[in-house]
């Protein structure tokens, strides 16, 4: 049994938030799938709202607070990420984007990512494909094929067949994430402060051919 760290980043605003609800469902389904595969999930939920002030301050001053840095470190070191946001004005929320803007480029390289979003109507569901997926592809994440969009109506849709509803999509996406995490190919990023590139190597790379 391998210890797998699974982090949810959720950018819902209200309390309770349907975005958080979706994040919790994706988390529970992924935990279940991991356990079935003989893995031991270690989970953490990041409410971006709780870091809103620190994120703006980081943006303006270039410096993370200790609390924000600890959270970023947890995301960067995760074995799997579930990222969920409300869709505002045809894309992820600004607050959600700020969180991923302050993460170093390449820091999420190879990280399995499950993307999810919520909105008032299903007409915004493709924001997952035209906004969320390219964002995490740019950041180097390995984005799961199934992305989960939950419109308000999805939380109570009695006439949808069980294999096509929200729960089925959650289970399918969670199974993909759990499988990618269990494959365990991601190496935790090297800490450049613990393991610096030796200066001889920096010098050598300078030499003309």
């Amino acid at each position: 049994m391998t210890d797998r760290s699974l982090v949810v980043v959720t950018a819902g605003l209200s309390q309770p938030s349907s975005t958080r609800l979706l994040g919790d469902r994706l988390l529970a389904a992924t935990e279940r799938a991991l356990r079935e595969a003989g893995e031991e999930p270690r989970t953490e939920v990041v409410e971006v709202r709780e870091h809103a002030q620190d994120l703006v301050n980081h943006f303006l001053t270039g410096v993370p607070s200790r609390r924000l840095q600890t959270t970023i470190d947890a995301v960067v070191a995760a074995d799997g990420l579930i990222a969920v946001t409300p869709i505002f004005s045809a894309s992820y929320s600004g607050l959600f984007k700020v969180f991923f803007d302050v993460i170093e480029h390449e820091a999420l390289a190879g990280l399995p990512v499950l993307i999810g979003a919520t909105g008032g109507t299903a007409r915004h569901s493709l924001a997952l494909e035209h906004a969320m997926r390219p964002l995490f592809t740019y950041l180097g994440g390995s984005v799961m094929r199934t992305a989960v969009y939950a419109a308000s109506e999805d939380w109570g849709a009695p006439d949808v067949p069980a294999d096509a509803g929200l729960v089925a999509r959650i289970d399918r996406a969670a199974a993909e994430l759990a499988a990618a995490m269990a494959a365990g190919t991601r190496a935790a990023p090297a800490d450049p402060f613990e393991n610096p590139i030796p200066f001889e190597d920096l010098l050598r790379s300078q030499r003309p051919e």
């Binding site: 410096v63 607070s65 610096p196 300078q206």
Partner: protein, 376 residues
């Protein structure tokens, strides 16, 4: 231990009056500030280098040479000298010249510069920042130590049979600091050469500074320059003092709230809580500054930023008077806790000359001998 100030040479509107000093006025003010720094007993005046408004200091050696002529004792340094976009040959020449004119009262701090367009303006690319710093310094290091240099690299035209003149004063190159806020490669570079490492921690919380300085110290020892706790460390700091701390906060707040680097972000109180910014009474500044060694270890140089954010010259000079009063206290307190084997000061021209003449180099200098052959 050395105490001093550094100026980034910004020309900023005073938010309390709406007045913006003219370039000429600000340039004269910086000279007055440097002279005042010496008068109140500070050890170092360091000047930034920028090639874009709202800064004026594109030509630091000109300014520093003038200040050298107007002062007797203060060490002149930079904050920082751009090792990326300057030709290392010109740095070798300019700073050796300055060293002669200032009778050795010169060291310099190298930095990469983080303004994207400056790189193409000087024919470079910011994405090569680290490789430029590595190659250019490797050349600069040789130009000051070898009379005739044959050299070939990636970023500048090759040199064959080149001698940088004037040669460093007494054959002793200016001491070099490598400044970086967040690049472990620069801490590694400083450690490799046994040079100083400066962390301008004015924007950074202690836990981060501890990681950077810790890396430098560990690698300094690894490269054979001496125990980690004897590595040469400098720190930034940012203070505003009034005898009564409430007066200091009241007077400084509008400058903080409108400063280009943090305006609109955290409150003064939040910022002072997580960074070295200290706005208060002289006693508060003393206590806060003494606390820096808790995350950086015993260090050798403390530079404060005092002339920024549109503060008028009169206020800056008052701040310097107060710094002059607290520095003897800081020096005494730091001296009292520093272990005997840790150097109190960074190498100076005078100390390096004295130890060379005595045949005992105080600080092992240059790359480790076993590695010299591997270096280009």
């Amino acid at each position: 231990m050395q105490f001093g100030i550094f100026s980034v040479s910004d020309i900023t509107t005073d938010p309390t009056t709406g007045r913006t000093p003219a370039e000429h006025e600000r340039i004269e003010a910086v000279v007055a500030i440097a002279r005042k720094a010496e008068e109140v007993g500070l050890d170092v005046f360091a000047l930034g280098e920028h090639h874009n408004p709202p800064f004026f200091s594109s030509s630091p050696t000109t300014t520093l040479a003038y200040i050298a002529a107007k002062t007797e004792r203060i060490i002149l340094s930079t904050a920082t000298t751009l090792i990326t976009t300057n030709d290392p040959v010109k740095i070798a020449e300019d700073y050796a010249m300055l060293q002669h004119l200032a009778d050795g009262r010169v060291d310099l701090m190298l930095g990469r510069g983080n303004t994207g367009p400056v790189y193409p303006w000087f024919g470079q690319d910011i994405r090569n920042g680290i490789p430029l710093a590595v190659e250019n310094y490797a050349l600069l290091h040789r130009l000051w130590r070898e009379d005739v240099v044959d050299w070939q690299g990636t970023f500048r035209t090759p040199l064959t049979g080149f001698t940088a003149v004037p040669r460093p004063l007494d054959g002793i190159p200016p001491f070099v600091w490598h400044g970086s806020i967040r690049s472990p490669e620069v801490a590694e570079q400083a450690a490799y050469y046994g040079d100083g490492f400066f962390h301008n921690n004015i924007f950074w919380p202690g836990f981060h500074v501890r990681r950077m300085v810790g890396l430098y110290r560990r690698r300094y020892e690894h490269y054979g320059h001496g125990p980690a706790d004897t590595a040469i460390v400098g720190l930034g700091g940012q203070v505003f003092m009034r005898p009564n701390s409430q007066d200091a906060v009241r007077e400084f707040r509008p400058y903080f709230d409108h400063a280009p680097v943090y305006g609109g972000g955290p409150s003064l109180e939040e910022y002072a809580d997580t960074t070295p910014l200290t706005v208060g009474s002289p006693q508060q500044v003393i206590e806060r500054t003494l606390g820096f060694r808790e995350f950086a270890g015993d260090y050798q140089r403390q530079l404060f930023l005092v002339d920024h954010a549109g503060l008028p010259l009169k206020t800056v000079l008052e701040q310097l008077e107060m710094l002059g009063e607290i520095v003897p206290v800081l020096r005494r307190e730091f001296d009292a806790v520093r272990p005997a084997h840790v150097p109190s000061d960074p190498p100076t021209h005078a100390s390096q000359k004295a130890s060379r003449d005595a045949g005992t180099p105080a600080t092992p200098e240059g790359p480790p001998p076993t590695l010299l052959e591997a270096a280009p």
